[in-house]
Structure formats: C-alpha cells, structure tokens
C-alpha cells in the first residue's frame, strides 16, 4: 500500500511540477509528426492529442509509445494540441510547423 502511495506521488509530481512540451515537423509527404514530452524527460506515451481547425476538433489520438503522433496535414489553418490535462496544454500553430 505504501508503495502505491509513493508511485502516485511520483506520478503527480511529474504531471504538475514539470511543463508539457511539444515539437512538430512537416514530413514533406503531406503528413505532420508531433512529438510530446515533459521538461523532466518523462514520456508522453498515451497522452491525448488533437488537431483543431476553426475551433473544432478534426483529429484525435493518443501519443504512441515513442510519444509521437502522425496525421494528415490539414489544407488550411490549424493547431496541433498536446493535452496533458488542465494547465498542461500546448498549442502549436500549423503555420509554425516546417520541414
């Protein structure tokens, strides 16, 4: 039981004491890859990810084992959103994503 509490505490600290980070790049083949992570180096595997366009979610996924998501490049303006919970959302504008 003690161990459970300890691991919970660690989990909490990794979620709240560290900032969420995302970096995206254009694969040059019509797809975009976004990679999520945390400032303490912990994995973003399983963290929610979405693509928004005009306030609507057009794509949703969870970060892979490698903390990555690859999606089809939307035709007009969009934002990639790494959603690690309240206060831990990272928005990257499509126009800032380059090859």
């Amino acid at each position: 039981m003690k161990r459970v509490i300890l691991s919970l505490a660690l989990f909490t600290s990794s979620l709240f004491a560290h900032s969420a980070i995302m970096s995206c790049f254009d694969n040059g083949d019509g797809s975009i890859t976004c990679e999520g992570g945390f400032s303490d180096g912990s994995s973003a595997s399983g963290v929610n990810f979405k693509v928004e366009q005009n306030g609507k979610t057009i794509f949703e996924a969870k970060m892979s084992e490698d903390s990555e998501v690859t999606f089809k490049k939307p035709s007009s303006q969009y934002s990639a959103v790494f959603d690690a919970g309240e206060g831990h959302q990272v928005y990257v504008k499509g126009s800032d994503i380059t090859e």
Partner: protein, 264 residues
C-alpha cells in the same frame, strides 16, 4: 638526479602543453533550439580564445549522434573545408544534420590524432557537443564509456550567464581523480558562411586567463562558474586510456562544449 631530470621533463611537457591549448570544436551557433530544424556544424581544431593558430585536422575516426538512445553514424556527412583563423588557415570540416526529433542530440567526434611538432607527440580530443530541440531532455547526461569523456551533470545547453557547469571526468567509465582540465572561452564569432573567425571579444589581463586550468576533485568531478554568455570548452588532458600513437606519446583528451545564454 634521474628523478629530478624526469620531473623537469614532465614539468616542461606540462608547461608547453598549456602554452598551446588546443581545442577541438564541434560548433553550431545555437545549442538550445526552439523546434526541430537542420543545423550546420564546423569542426575546427583551434585555440578558441587567442585564435593564434588553426591546426590542420588530420582526419576523423568517428562522428556520431545519439538521440533517445539511438546512435546514428554521421561520418559520411563530413565535408572538407579550409577554415581561416586570424593568423592562418587550417584544414577543417563542416557537416549538416537534420535535428528533427525532440530531445537531446548528443554529438561525439573522435578526430584522427594530430601530430604536435612542438611536443613531438600526438593529441586526440574526443569531443562532445549537445544540441537540444524544444526543451525536453533525453540524452545529455548519457555516459558513453568513451576512452576519454566528460559526463555532464549540468545540461550543457541550458546555462544562464553567471551560472555554472559541473562534469565528471571519466575514462572507459571509470572516474579520473584530480584530472587536469583546461577551460577556454570561444572569444570569437564563427562566420559560418565564410568559414572564418571574427574579431576577439575580450582581452585577457594575463596568460592564465587565456587557458584557465582547473582540477577535478578526488571523484573526478569539477564545477566552473561561467562568467560570460557564449561558448565555453572544457578539456580534460591526457585522461584517455590510449597513451601511444605511431610510436609516439599520445595525449587522449576529453572535450565538452557548453553554451551560456545572457539574461535579457
């Protein structure tokens, strides 16, 4: 008497080595990148503070990068260039790398030993440079078990001006107590386009400020307070396990570059 002579010889050797403080550069202008991008490197063997002589690199034995524990050989990306220092030009290399993935890209270069005529000995500086993409750490503190290695305890790309850098000197994974470490400031802007050094930025009041010599403690650990933003290099002298090359003495050194940013 014999001992005395030996001591004198050793002291002279040390003196001359500090008078010619060589540093292998694996240089890219920005080590903390906000997002993935293609980065350019210059690989120059020089004296970063005084820029008194640019050595002709003898070649490269190994050049690779590690990102998220994955090693990629980059030796084929090296291209020969001539780099112009303020007093002469020397053989150097340049390379280009797509730093796309988030996290740390830990670059390691092992040059072919360089023959230093003044010392009738060879120098080989196994050099580390760490570039980070987007602020998520991954491999910066990796211990690679190199023949000569400085393992950082401070992220080499995340140091504020007036901050400090701490590292541990190792050889094949074993600490080197009381290792002698030379420290130099890159006192020039590197003109990446024209392959030449710019004007010097600061003046040293005396020679001991050009190449600063510090020592590691009994655990091979050292800390250096960084007085100015820019690039700083640390070189642990002769700590490598290989002591001879082509029948002559070899100084196998460990170099690491760090970059401090101004607070503004």
């Amino acid at each position: 008497m014999k001992k005395m002579i030996l001591k004198t010889v050793a002291v002279t050797a040390l003196l001359s080595s500090s008078a010619y403080a060589h540093f292998q550069m694996v240089y890219t202008p920005q080590t903390a990148l906000t997002k993935g991008q293609t980065i350019e490197f210059k690989h120059i063997f020089t004296h970063p503070f005084s820029d008194e002589h640019t050595m002709d690199m003898a070649g490269v034995e190994e050049f690779f990068v590690i990102n998220k524990e994955e090693k990629t050989d980059l030796k084929d990306t090296l291209k020969s260039i001539t780099f112009k220092g303020s007093s002469n030009s020397g053989k150097a290399y340049e390379s280009s790398y797509k730093a796309r993935k988030m996290g740390d890209h830990l670059f390691v270069m092992t040059p072919t030993p360089y023959y230093e005529k003044n010392e009738d000995a060879y120098i080989q500086q196994i050099t580390k440079t760490v570039v980070n993409v987007a602020g998520a750490p991954s491999d910066w503190d990796a211990e690679l078990g190199l023949k000569a290695e400085i393992v950082p305890l401070t992220k080499p790309y995340a140091i504020w001006e007036h901050g400090s850098f701490t590292g541990i000197v190792k050889s094949n994974g074993t600490v080197v107590p009381f290792a002698e470490i030379e420290v130099e400031y890159l006192n020039r802007d590197v003109d990446m386009k024209n392959n030449q050094m710019g004007k010097s930025k600061v003046e040293a009041p005396q020679d001991s400020f050009v190449t600063m010599t510090i020592k590691a403690n009994k655990d091979g650990e050292f800390t250096f307070a960084i007085p100015k933003a820019g690039f700083w290099a640390f070189c642990a002298l002769g700590v490598g396990s290989v002591k001879e090359y082509k029948g002559k003495e070899l100084s196998q050194d460990a170099v690491i570059w760090v970059e401090a940013k101004a607070m503004k």
